[in-house]
């Protein structure tokens, strides 16, 4: 039995209220696809992580500003804390709303000609939302995936999207922070590098080539399994981990 602890990370979603919030979003949303997504609901905060259906998600984008830049590719890998299911994973290349100019944007493994023939995000939106519906999304650095998807939908459908996420970067930051000495904290020393590859190395996970959305999603799923194995335990409640 795990003792209820306060959330390790704080996010925009008030902890514990996600299922109710989904109900409200369901009645407020106009788009059928979003309605279906919200109708699928979300697991409650008191669900042990071992019983939580998860899906790792990663975006490659044309830049870091959700208002200026757009999504180029999306990778998703469903998993639980004991198994990552590659056979149910998916990878989409989509055409960004702005042009990719020359060498200023480096997207690994995707050629310009591939992007030229890629569909708009809207045409794969239904598949994406179906894949993540009912699962808790796990990302490394939530500001990219959550904000880019919200912006992209706002731009295309006139309405945004909200969903709870588990952020492996925020979890790692917290784990490292708790390990710091008081002096480190007073001097506001950095906790250590938090890039996906750096975090993985701490758990003995192999080096994967970065910046491919599907590989990064797989890498994130593995990282979360390792974090749970080392720091939390399988009975930890979802409410302590999501935001």
């Amino acid at each position: 039995m795990s003792v209820q602890r306060p959330s390790l990370v704080t996010g925009p979603g008030a902890v514990g209220s996600w299922p109710e919030h989904f109900d409200q979003l369901y009645t407020r949303s106009r788009d059928m696809r979003l309605q279906r997504f919200y109708a699928a609901g979300t697991v409650t905060a008191d669900t042990p992580i071992i019983n939580t259906p998860l899906i790792a998600m990663d975006f490659e984008t044309t830049g870091l500003d959700a208002e200026q830049n757009d999504i180029v590719s999306i990778g998703v890998v469903p998993f639980s804390i004991h198994r990552i299911f590659c056979r149910e994973s998916a990878h989409w290349v989509v055409k960004p709303g702005q042009n990719l100019t020359g060498g200023s944007v480096v997207i690994h493994g995707i050629t310009h000609s591939e992007i030229d023939v890629a569909p708009d995000l809207e045409s794969i939106l239904e598949s994406l939302l179906t894949a993540i519906a009912g699962r808790i999304v796990v990302v490394h650095y939530r500001h990219i995936e959550r904000e880019f998807l919200a912006q992209a939908l706002l731009h295309r459908l006139g309405e945004s999207i909200e969903f709870p996420v588990i952020d492996t970067m925020a979890l790692e930051q917290n784990i490292l922070y708790r390990r710091q000495s008081i002096l480190d904290r007073l001097l506001k020393r950095r906790v250590g590098p938090l890039r996906l590859g750096d975090c993985r190395e701490r758990y003995g996970l192999p080096h994967y080539q970065a910046h491919h959305a599907l590989t990064d999603a797989l890498a994130t799923a593995e990282l979360f399994q390792a974090q749970v194995a080392h720091h939390f335990g399988e009975e930890t409640l979802l409410g302590e981990l999501w935001c």
Binding site: G75, F79, H82, R83, I84, F85, C86, R87, S89, A90, H91, W92, G109, I124, S127, Y203, G204, L205, P206, Y208, Q209, H212, L214, T215, L218, A219, A221, E222, Q225, A226, A229, H230
Partner: protein, 627 residues
């Protein structure tokens, strides 16, 4: 949504056996992988748990263990584990623990099987050098069982202090005090003149109290007068299961353990307890406490449970076959004791024979009763016939009541034809051997597997020696026996596919006894008779045959593996049937087997088929006879 797992594919392509797969197959495999992370120190696989995947270590290190907890192997990046468990019956046989933080790629069993079927080189990886998959399956199975892998000498923790049997009891007590031991090994001072008293015994503190002080025996008496005799000896290099069988067979609780013919210690039944549930030993002991046929019949109901338990304990076919044969033999012995109580002692000495699988120590749960009686040459039909008819009927009916059904071919002691004097038996064997008519041999081959179970059991040994003296190198006889041994073909078609029963109740199945173990046993019998082996068990016969050098290099070992595999598949099949409340039979449905079991089975049948071809050539069995 083409989800290519680049990292997984590019890892697998660099590691055997996956580097043998075509690129598109490898990419498909990478998409089917499941990934899991284990923290250092955590258990990955627990003994006997179900297992559904082949495990590939992406990064990290693990240790695999034998069921004893002993380290078996240490594996790291790119190594594969779980294949043995998948190939045998999808239960974990070697537990695995992460010794570093470890990331595992799991490959679903169906894919693994599929690739083994489709890509020879991929499958070959799982057969180590000079070792076929069949051999691996058989030897891994045996390695994992304490009874077959632990030697008797490992149980003898300290050597006993010895004393000559003619030393005084006082001397023995002094020696025990001086050496600070509670027991002594009493040895024969003149082993060359050993009489029938046997080689030695053991004397304990308790014997001094109960047999000397309490009875007022003089302390100057010879120590051998108060020792507990241990007549049966076993070499220290024998395996624990052999010790168990020896105790079972003789219904004794101590064995004298020898090193190069010199006694070094005593092995007690209690020493074996921690190595086996000893359920079979207990069953045998209880059989002799039953006072009538009804009690024996009720008791025989426990037999299936004992059988299933031995199978679950990973006993090999020789152990199970021997234990079942000893149990069957014990039923016969007890029935004969009861018969003699009821009808009085026999008017002339006799020997009750077990024939066929029971004599070979290859009996499974139940079998037809095949038995006969050898009578003393002073036997007179008019005077003694009625007694033996009564006795034989009592035993055969009793056996039938205990689950050993009557023999269809009437090869039973209750049939007057198979109650003969020693001379008559020899004459009969002479006739079979000197004038071998295939039809006679077809029914008669069972008589070449005989064992004495009660009475003058040495007569059985004598008969066996008589037979092998006549058969060794006897060309025309061996050619006839060989021809008979070719009658039942293994079920492999031209393209090595299984040939199944075409119709009837057992359609689409393979009778693994008729098509596998029986023809192989026949082949082995011919070789054994050819080299003059007086062994009866097929594995022991094979030892003698291999020793004699008549088989091509390596072929003997193949026969051993094939016999073990076919036997154990048959045994497991029957055990599963018993567990699900069915009547055990020999009909295997290949569709119920994993692709590895099918592969191993085909290989074993192929060995049988090759062995038949060799037999034909070796004994000139091609010439058809005019019969």
């Amino acid at each position: 949504m083409h989800a290519e797992q680049i990292e997984i594919a590019s890892f697998l392509v660099n590691h055997p056996p996956f580097d043998e797969l075509p690129e598109e197959v490898l990419n498909e495999l990478a998409r089917q992988v499941e990934v899991v992370y284990y923290r250092s120190g955590s258990d990955i696989l627990n003994l006997a748990d179900p297992i559904q995947d082949l495990y590939v270590i992406r990064k990290g290190a693990v240790e695999t263990y034998r069921r004893t907890g002993e380290l078996y192997n240490r594996l790291t990046n790119g190594d594969v584990f779980g294949q043995v468990s998948l190939m045998m019956n999808q239960r974990v046989r070697f537990p695995v623990k992460a010794i570093e933080d470890t990331l595992i790629y799991c490959i679903p069993f169906e894919l693994f099987q599929d690739y083994c079927d489709r890509y020879e080189t991929f499958a070959d990886y799982f057969e180590s050098e000079n070792s076929t998959l069949l051999h691996k399956a058989v030897s891994d199975h045996q390695e994992n069982n304490n009874l077959t892998s632990v030697k008797v000498k490992e149980l003898i923790t300290r050597e006993l202090v010895t004393i000559p049997g003619d030393a005084s009891i006082r001397h023995a007590a002094e020696l025990m005090t001086a050496q600070q031991v509670s027991s002594l090994l009493v040895v024969d001072p003149n082993p060359e003149q050993t009489d029938s008293e046997g080689p030695g015994g053991i004397v304990t503190d308790r014997d001094l109290r109960e047999r000397v002080l309490a009875t007022g025996l003089s302390p100057e008496s010879a120590v051998k007068t108060v020792m507990s005799k241990v007549m049966v000896t076993l070499d220290e290099n024998a395996y624990v299961f052999e010790a168990m069988l020896l105790m079972l067979r003789n219904n004794i609780h101590h064995l004298l353990i020898m090193r190069r013919q010199v006694p070094i210690g005593v092995l007690a039944l209690s020493d074996l307890v921690r190595h086996e549930s000893q359920s079979s030993i207990l069953l045998v002991r209880s059989i002799f406490n039953m006072t009538n046929v009804e009690e024996l019949q009720a008791y025989s109901q426990q037999l299936p449970a004992v059988f299933v338990r031995m199978v679950k304990e990973d006993a090999n076919s020789h152990m199970i076959g021997s234990a079942m044969a000893v149990i069957g033999q014990s039923f016969k012995q007890r029935l004969l004791e009861l018969a003699e109580e009821q009808f009085g002692p026999a008017p002339v000495p006799y020997c009750f024979l077990a024939l066929g699988s029971m004599a070979r120590d290859e009996q499974l749960i139940y079998t037809d009763q095949d038995n006969a009686i050898v009578l003393d040459d002073r036997y007179r039909e008019e005077a003694h016939g009625a007694y033996f008819e009564q006795l034989a009927k009592f035993v055969c009916d009793g056996l039938a009541a205990c689950g050993y059904s009557y023999c269809d071919g009437e090869i039973m002691a209750s049939n007057p034809k198979w109650r003969m004097t020693r001379s008559a038996w020899k004459a009969h064997f002479s006739q079979w051997i000197d004038d071998p008519k295939p039809q006679a041999l077809l029914n008669g081959s069972i008589f070449f597997d005989l064992d004495g179970v009660f009475g003058r059991t040495q007569w059985a040994t004598e008969l066996r020696r008589f037979v092998t003296d006549k058969t060794r190198g006897n060309r025309s006889f061996l050619a006839s026996m060989a021809r008979n041994a070719l009658n039942r073909k293994p079920p492999l078609g031209f393209f090595k596919e299984f040939v199944m029963e075409k119709d009837g109740q057992h359609k689409n199945s393979i009778n693994i006894k008729r098509r596998g173990t029986a023809p192989l046993t026949d082949v082995i019998r011919v070789h054994a008779l050819a080299v003059g082996s007086s062994a009866v068990n097929s594995f022991e016969r094979l030892d003698d045959v291999i020793q004699s050098g008549i088989l091509p290099e390596g072929k003997g070992a193949d026969l051993v593996d094939a016999l073990e595999y076919l036997s154990i598949v048959r045994i497991r099949h029957q055990s599963r049937q018993i567990e699900s409340g069915k009547e055990p039979d020999n009909n295997i449905h290949p569709t119920n087997l994993t692709s590895f079991e099918r592969r191993n089975l085909k290989e074993a049948f192929q060995v049988v088929s090759n062995a038949q071809s060799f037999l034909k050539y070796r004994y000139n069995a091609n010439i058809p006879t005019a019969s």
